[in-house]
């Protein structure tokens, strides 16, 4: 039965249920137990934001706090996966990828290919990303395009509590390395989530909203931003279709192209930077494969090509919001802005 629960709890539940189902599933990372100095295991923090809380109490031998050495434990995850475990490692902030990228780029991503298909690497690297919580430029980036660029890795960016649980379960069951991106501003978002375990297949976009006037492609937290914009636009008589690819690798090109075929217009909303990014990738896809369907130029709504600012005023200006999305949609549909809207 479905009941309302948070994005954060959905992720926690996915790990617990998979650990229950498959004893090869293990969890490690910095402070994922978080019991240091606490009087008992039930007091253990379970990660800086409590996403792994409760796992240590249930599976004390299968969750491990690691030293502050991403190179060591991300490498250990790749090795453990190649030799029979199904590790779920946590990279606290994706901004720290720089110190463990070889383990991902040249090891985990390549094992299957380099060993002629004789090795599998069923590891999941969960990681927090995203701006909007005043965490400054080294803890706020949206770096999924960097991983999407690397063949051999699957990249997941959930936008709802329901998707987070089903996609994380699929990530754990998948035989390839998966980078699972959790937007920190979504952890408290609630939604209907079944108590039972379920898996959402990769490469299957979710049409979050139907509409005939414009296709908005968005990921992660930007799906909610697009929905907010769509509500405003509906009041102006513009019906937006919102497509959430859910995974950037593999990518469900078909659903995106079919939507563009219907609407003839595309706006891509992305929290990652504009250069060589997800928005540019989707825009290129549409330009190459759906040019004949387009009635207007493609628009992308992204942050500028700058670090994420620490100043709250600048950070708010940096992240795409509903007003920017609505403005881009009005531009491609040729609609006038309502009075009072710049």
């Amino acid at each position: 039965m479905a009941r309302k629960t948070s994005f954060q709890n959905a992720i926690n539940e996915a790990m617990l249920q998979e650990m229950e189902r498959d004893e090869r599933v293990v969890v490690f990372g910095e402070d994922v137990v978080g019991g240091s100095g606490a009087p008992g295991v039930l007091d253990a923090w379970g990660g800086v934001l409590g996403v792994t809380k409760g796992i240590h109490a249930r599976f004390p031998d299968r969750i491990l706090d690691t030293p502050i050495s991403e190179a060591a434990y991300v490498g250990a995850a790749a090795g453990a996966a190649a030799s029979g475990l199904r590790p779920v490692a946590e990279l606290m902030f994706v901004d720290f990828m720089g110190v463990c990228f070889d383990q991902i780029l040249n090891q985990a991503a390549k094992f299957r290919y380099m060993f002629g298909g004789k090795a599998v690497t069923p590891m999941v690297l969960r990681t927090m990303f995203g701006a909007g919580i005043r965490a400054a430029s080294q803890h706020s980036q949206a770096l999924y395009p960097m991983f999407t660029h690397v063949p051999g890795i699957k990249v997941v960016v959930p936008s709802s509590a329901y998707d987070a649980k089903g996609l994380l379960i699929q990530s754990i069951r998948d035989d390839d390395p998966v980078i699972f991106f959790e937007h920190k501003a979504l952890y408290t978002l609630e939604g209907d989530v079944p108590e039972e375990a379920y898996a959402i297949p990769f490469g299957e976009a979710n049409v979050v909203r139907s509409g005939g006037d414009v296709t908005i492609v968005a990921l992660g937290r930007m799906v909610g931003v697009a929905q907010e914009a769509a509500k405003v636009l509906a009041g102006e008589g513009i019906e937006a279709e919102i497509v959430d690819p859910r995974t950037t690798s593999p990518l469900d090109e078909e659903t995106i192209l079919e939507s563009i075929e219907e609407t003839g217009r595309l706006v891509v909303v992305d929290e990652a930077g504009p250069r060589c990014g997800f928005a540019a990738d989707i825009a290129a896809l549409a330009a190459e494969k759906a040019f004949g369907d387009l009635k207007a130029p493609i628009r992308t709504v992204t942050p500028p090509h700058t670090p994420v600012p620490f100043s709250p005023v600048l950070e708010d200006a940096y992240v795409p919001d509903a007003a920017k999305v609505a403005a881009a949609v009005r531009e491609v549909t040729g609609a006038a802005a309502p009075a009072g809207v710049a």
Binding site: M1, Y162, E196, A197, Y198, A199, I200, S210
Partner: protein, 376 residues
């Protein structure tokens, strides 16, 4: 006659509001109880609201395109001689006293879990508080759940107690169906009756649920007061291989939508939300195996394995069979195979889901059948 309110119905566990699509009748028109008055769309499915009683449609209160909460006033029905000021006052009073249900607090009747043979069986038990007579027991079809009865439950629940069941492998019940044989499904229903202390019941079954009800009546006629079968399995050999295999195999919205469309006569009955709901069910661990086990045993290669219309020839268990003439899953011609004495009702412009497509007809036919079968 007194003035009557026609209100936004509650179709299913999760419905909180509906949108007026189209008025089907004009103000001043005479209506009979059960006439379709207004088309309403919900998150999951569209349907028609029916007149609660005979009278004249005096006032269409809700506008087309308007979205209103469950229970909100849609129209006023009454004596054509009523003067306009009286109707105005009635509308004002109804709207002033209306309290929209809180989406979180009033989710309607709650489901419960019953343990049967180590399996969790989800049920919805509802009905008038003072009714302790034999209940209606509703058994859904292959791949369905108790929410499939969303359009008929509100009406039936006014008249008598009812228990809607999620069969094993379905809805909120355990997904383990063992070898998928019929006995697992009939056992779950009998187990619910035992657990609820129900000695005898009126069974209502759709499709596979019709076969489940028939098998229970044949094996335990002492526990069944009447059978109401809606497009039931078990009467003839054919069943759509496109539907069964398509339903089992579908993993995406795109694959599932055309399959679900086969359930209905009219195009466009299947909404995106309905497809999503079924897809969410299909993704649950164990569902794929359960559906394959049930279909593999009972509906292999477009043939039904368990066929015996003679089971309906029960002296003490009156049976009613309702079928849509445009049924694309199990042919309506199977209705001709029933033994003498079984009442058959064929509905025009109706597919495999009469309880969704013709909820008013199904409500009345079953209610009358059950009433006729009540023991002295």
């Amino acid at each position: 006659m007194a003035l009557l309110q026609l209100t936004m119905p509650k179709w299913g566990l999760s419905m909180t509001e509906g949108t007026i699509v189209e008025w089907l009748l004009e103000e001043g028109e005479q209506i009979a109880a059960g006439d379709q008055v207004v088309e309403v769309s919900t998150e999951k499915i569209d349907g028609a609201v029916e007149a609660p009683d005979a009278g004249t449609l005096l006032r269409r209160v809700a506008a087309e395109g308007e979205t209103l909460p469950v229970g909100a006033l849609l129209a006023v029905v009454g004596d054509p001689a009523t003067d306009a000021a009286e109707v105005d006052a009635f509308v004002a009073e109804a709207q002033a006293s209306f309290v929209p249900p809180d989406a979180d607090e009033d989710a309607g009747p709650a489901t419960e879990a019953v343990e049967v043979d180590g399996r969790r069986v989800r049920i919805l038990a509802t009905g008038p508080a003072d009714d302790d007579g034999p209940p209606l027991v509703l058994i859904h079809g292959f791949g369905g759940d108790l929410d499939n009865w969303r359009f008929v439950i509100p009406e039936w629940a006014k008249e008598r107690s009812l228990i809607a069941i999620d069969l094993p492998g379905h809805g909120g019940s355990s997904k383990d169906v063992g070898d998928g044989r019929l006995a697992v499904l009939t056992g779950a229903v009998l187990g619910v009756l035992d657990a609820r202390g129900v000695e005898r019941a009126h069974l209502v079954g759709h499709s596979l649920g019709g076969l489940v009800a028939t098998a229970i009546a044949a094996e335990h006629p002492d526990r069944v007061l009447s059978l109401s079968l809606i497009a039931p399995a078990g009467l003839g050999p054919e069943i759509s291989i496109e539907y069964i295999d398509g339903f089992v195999a579908a993993t995406s919205r795109k694959q599932l939508k055309p399959v679900l469309a086969q359930l209905f006569a009219a195009e466009g009955t299947v909404t995106r939300e309905l497809v999503d709901e079924v897809l969410r069910y299909k993704r649950l661990d164990g569902v794929d195996a359960a559906l394959r086990a049930i279909a593999g045993h009972g509906f292999r290669d477009g043939r039904q394995a368990d066929v015996d219309p003679g089971r309906l020839a029960l002296d003490d268990v009156p049976a009613l069979v309702i079928w849509g003439r445009q049924d694309r899953v199990i042919p309506a011609a199977h209705a001709e195979l029933v033994p003498d004495g079984v009442r058959v009702e064929l509905l025009d412009d109706t597919g495999h889901s009469p309880h969704v497509e013709r909820a008013g007809d199904v409500h009345r036919l079953v209610a009358a059948h059950v009433l006729g079968a009540v023991p002295a």
